[in-house]
Amino acid sequence: MFKIDQYAYANKLRQMHPGEKFAFALLTMTICLAAPVPLVHLVVIMLMAGMVVLRAGIPARFYCKLLALPLSFLLLSVLAVCVSVTSHPGVPVYGPVIHGYAVGVTLAGLYQAGLILGKSLAAVSCLYFLSLTTPVVEIISLLRRLRLPSLFLELMGLIYRYIFVVMETADRMYISQSSRQGYASLKTAYHSLGQLVSNLFIKSYYRSSALYTALSSRGYTGDLPVLDNSFRLSGRNIIFIFLVELFLAGLAWHYWRWPF
């Protein structure tokens, strides 16, 4: 149902320890966020693309599509950042002047926008690396080892599991409605969607009580203990991650404020 999720279960880095992947993604992301160094961002974008496409074996076309996904938000927001409105004649603004206000782009604004663009793409690459190689189940197991509240994690597990079930139900309802012309006009569409959502809610409610029954029959009394998959830590991977982070941090340190 979700391509990212499918790849998470079927990629070449599936058997790598989730802790290693998690640390690699988050440390790299932190360096990206902290360092206003375009070169670092560029290196990270390349590095993650390499890891995802070459090491994990995710098709390059799919990865490119994914990278284009957040562009609509990014371009809109970046527009808001770099467009300035000013009445001070001193600031160099490139754009039309309306009633004495200059509306346009400043050099500094442009630079800031570029910086945000690069930084966001780098951070997104880190997120993609994690979500394309690590199944949600393993992430939850990892968070359990990191001592997050078990209630929160159990809810995460249940929600993740039932997203797919509820989604399929919604899908079937939508198909059944549209085969009966439920979405032929805007008015019927609102009507149908309203019916769909309320029905989906009721179904989910009944399903939750059926699930409670089924789990009670297996001895549920309030906790959901489960056995986690075990993975082996790899010394080589840890050294690799350490070296990469060291290199990125060094790069950031050296080129801080570059090129201005």
């Binding site: 149902m1 391509k3 499918q6 139900t169 079937r172 309802m173 198909i175 059944s176 409605q177 549209s178 085969s179 009966r180 012309q181 439920g182 032929a184 019927t188 019916q195 769909l196 029905n199 009721i202 179904k203």
Partner: protein, 309 residues
């Protein structure tokens, strides 16, 4: 071509998740027929049905209704969905409304009919499916069998020319299943083409007048039931078994107990009748009518009579 009301020509379809559900399906549904589409889980039956209704659009190939290719614009789709109705397998995902009447009127109202016309159709559909007494009941309080009939009524009320039904008897007990199949028989007699998918070979054999066998996204065989179900290799390939009637008939005939030249029986009653009246005659010859011991006789007596014969 014109005798087919629905046709698929070399249809390919791949779901967004990569499943290649249809891989070059070419088939025709004869107008006015009772068609059974057979195949194991995941053979592509439901995907095919969604194409017949314009919900899915083939990646390659075309779907034809009454000889005309389906274009996927608004008007063409309206026309298609008006004429081809699908009853899905799980009644729970099809029923939305608070009451049975509201549910059945959903489709006709979307067709833009007048209130009176909708009311007439709803009543007719309820009468045909024998659910008049459920009229004001909330749909979620119905039993499984009742829900199934409400689903069928909600499609019937759109008065489609083709009624497609996905696994109509799944989850029903024998008595309810028989009622549903009776209903389809009646609908078909009134001129509606009825297509249904199933993996119950016995049911398909007794009911259908045309059979399509699907396996792994293609049609691997089609024809009259008595022909299709004789092809063991085909059935094996599609993960299906042979109908009881065909198997037992063949065994009796090989053994020499049933004469050749007679068509294979299509229902249990036909088979038992055949055993009763035709059994043990010489090849081709007419069997003498035995005086058959009644059900109330003790088994030993039956044996004696039979033994002496």
């Amino acid at each position: 071509m014109t005798q087919f009301i629905l046709e698929a020509r070399d249809v390919y379809y791949k779901y967004p998740d990569g499943t290649e559900a249809l891989q070059g399906v070419t088939l025709g549904i004869p107008g006015g027929g009772r068609v059974a589409v057979l195949g194991s889980n995941g053979a592509g039956k439901t995907t095919l049905f969604l194409h017949f209704n314009g919900i899915l659009r083939p990646l390659k190939g075309g779907v034809f209704f009454a000889g005309e290719e389906v274009r996927y614009d608004h008007r063409s789709l309206m026309q298609l969905r008006k004429n081809v109705g699908i009853v899905f397998q799980d009644p729970d995902t099809q029923l939305f409304s608070a009451s049975v009447v509201q549910e059945i009127s959903f489709g006709p109202l979307n067709l833009g009919l007048s209130r009176e016309e909708v009311r007439r159709r709803v009543e007719e559909a309820m009468a045909a499916t024998e659910i008049e007494d459920l009229k004001d009941k909330p749909t979620h309080l119905l039993s499984y069998g009742q829900k199934k009939r409400v689903c069928i009524a909600s499609i019937l009320a759109m008065e489609p020319r083709v009624l497609i039904c996905d696994e109509p008897t799944a989850g029903l007990d024998p008595a309810h299943a028989a009622r549903v199949m009776d209903l389809f028989q009646r609908i078909n007699r009134q001129g509606t083409t009825v297509v249904l998918s199933t993996h119950d070979v016995d049911l398909a054999y007794s009911w259908a007048d045309y059979v399509l066998v699907m396996s792994r996204g293609t049609v691997v065989g089609h024809g009259l039931p008595e022909e299709v179900f004789r092809r063991q290799e085909l059935l094996r390939q599609a993960d299906l078994t042979r109908p009881w009637l065909v198997e037992i008939h063949e065994h009796l005939y090989r053994k020499g107990w049933l004469p050749a030249g007679l068509p294979a029986p299509r229902t249990r009653e036909e088979l038992f009748d055949l055993i009763l009246t035709r059994g043990a005659a010489g090849p081709g010859g007419l069997a003498p009518v035995h005086i058959f011991p009644g059900e109330n006789m003790r088994p030993e007596c039956v044996l004696c009579i039979a033994g002496k014969k």
